[in-house]
């Protein structure tokens, strides 16, 4: 019986292997918490976009938001943009965090997780790099100081394409 179960497990293991493919970034829209303007991801087609999910309780986000803001200033916004998605259940917590760690890029609120769920967010911070065609080219599952240097290089490669 156990050897049959072992065979069954092996078969299930093979069937559970994922199919790897480049994915299109799910489209989303919302109001920028800073400027109160409507933001649509589709409006950024033709630019390289970095989508960053964060929350006020996420410890690494205290370092990542200022680092990304600095990186955006260095790269410029002609062909590149960062869109941050705050997933705090209470958006007020996110606004308090932004008052302490202000950023110059658009920040949308996603308290119900409508955008986060479509991106399959499991933990924070989580970010996605999108090419000019809106395809996800890379996913980042954590942040530590210095990560923005490698990220900037990857963005510059995409900007040359």
């Amino acid at each position: 019986m156990a050897s049959d179960l072992l065979k069954l497990l092996s078969l299930m293991l093979l069937l559970a292997q994922p199919v790897l493919a480049q994915e299109s970034a799910p489209l989303f829209s919302g109001v920028d918490l800073n400027t109160k303007k409507q933001i649509n991801l589709s409006d950024f087609r033709g630019k390289v976009v970095f989508v960053d999910f964060w929350a006020s309780w996420c410890a690494p986000c205290r370092a990542s938001l200022p680092a990304y803001d600095q990186m955006r200033q260095e790269i410029g916004t002609e062909e590149f943009e960062i869109i941050a998605i705050n997933v705090d259940e209470n958006t007020e917590d996110g606004l308090k965090f932004l008052a302490e760690h202000p950023v110059s890029y658009p920040v949308l609120a996603d308290p119900e997780g409508d955008i986060g769920i479509s991106y399959g967010i499991r933990s924070l911070p989580r970010s996605f790099l999108l090419d000019r065609n809106g395809q996800i080219t890379a996913t980042y599952k954590s942040f530590k100081e210095g990560d923005e240097i490698k990220l900037k290089q990857e963005i510059e490669v995409l900007l040359k394409q």
């Binding site: 072992l6 497990l9 309780w57 997780g113 499991r122 599952k141 954590s142 530590k144």
Partner: protein, 309 residues
Amino acid sequence: MSFKFIKFALLVFLFIGMKDPAFAATCSCAGVPLLTTIDTSASEKGEFFISYSTEFHQISDLVSGTKNVNDETDRDRNSFSQVLSASYAMTDRWSVSALVSYVKHNRTIGSSFLGKTTTSGIGDSVILLRYTPLFITPFSRHLISLGLGVRIPTGDDDFGDNFVLSEDMQPSTGAYGEILWTSYSYAFNQAATVQFNTSANYTVNEENDRKYAFGNEFNLFSGISHAIGSKFGYSAGLRYRTTRADRRFGFDIPNTGGQWLDFIPGISYAVTNHLNLGLSGRIPVWRKLDGVLQFTTSYAYSFSLSYGF
């Protein structure tokens, strides 16, 4: 097939194919908490975790039913186990865990060195396939995971010079086992720093070559865990365990089987984003053991180290 999966598969086959000629030994994983040490961390597509844990298990309490009895036999019995475990998530919902154990049993009866017996060697291994339809995210507070597994007798189970030692002194059971496993967690806040965790497993034990079968076993664990900042965490829980009597040639063995309730406190420390250390204990709270007299757990403590990438 990803590189991480190939590495994982290689590790599994290395573990399972591994034999230790220097300890041409035996097997019985009595007291070795295989299913509680199996690494089930990998839960997101592509995640790979490997962990090493050790447990020291002192088995010197003499119990009759629910009462402790004074042991005047000057007997000492303990087990030291080491477990290497790995888990890999093939998708966000399907993951596989595997472990291999190395077990050392010590038994001393009386003060003479002739009364000392030590056995050691590769113990049993476990492969567990898990399906997680619901998991904790910033938008969901619940995790449900179901698993199906096999315990494989990767070690020897016939240790002894002129006669084979008792099954509880063998490093491996010498028998396959079928495992049903389930786990549920609830996060009390969005950051999931405070969680209620419960898990249960049931193992059907088959007979080894000597027609001995350990009693089927059921474990239920429930506890609370709390992460303080991004580095420290602590947990506390209760584990209920019950086993049927062991059998030989289909007949129950006297003084085996029973029910145990243990308190399990633990602390953890994240050295880096990838490396975690853990320390936990097992303290008997209540037990009701079958038969007239049984030696059972006095206490146990374990240390673990896990690495994820």
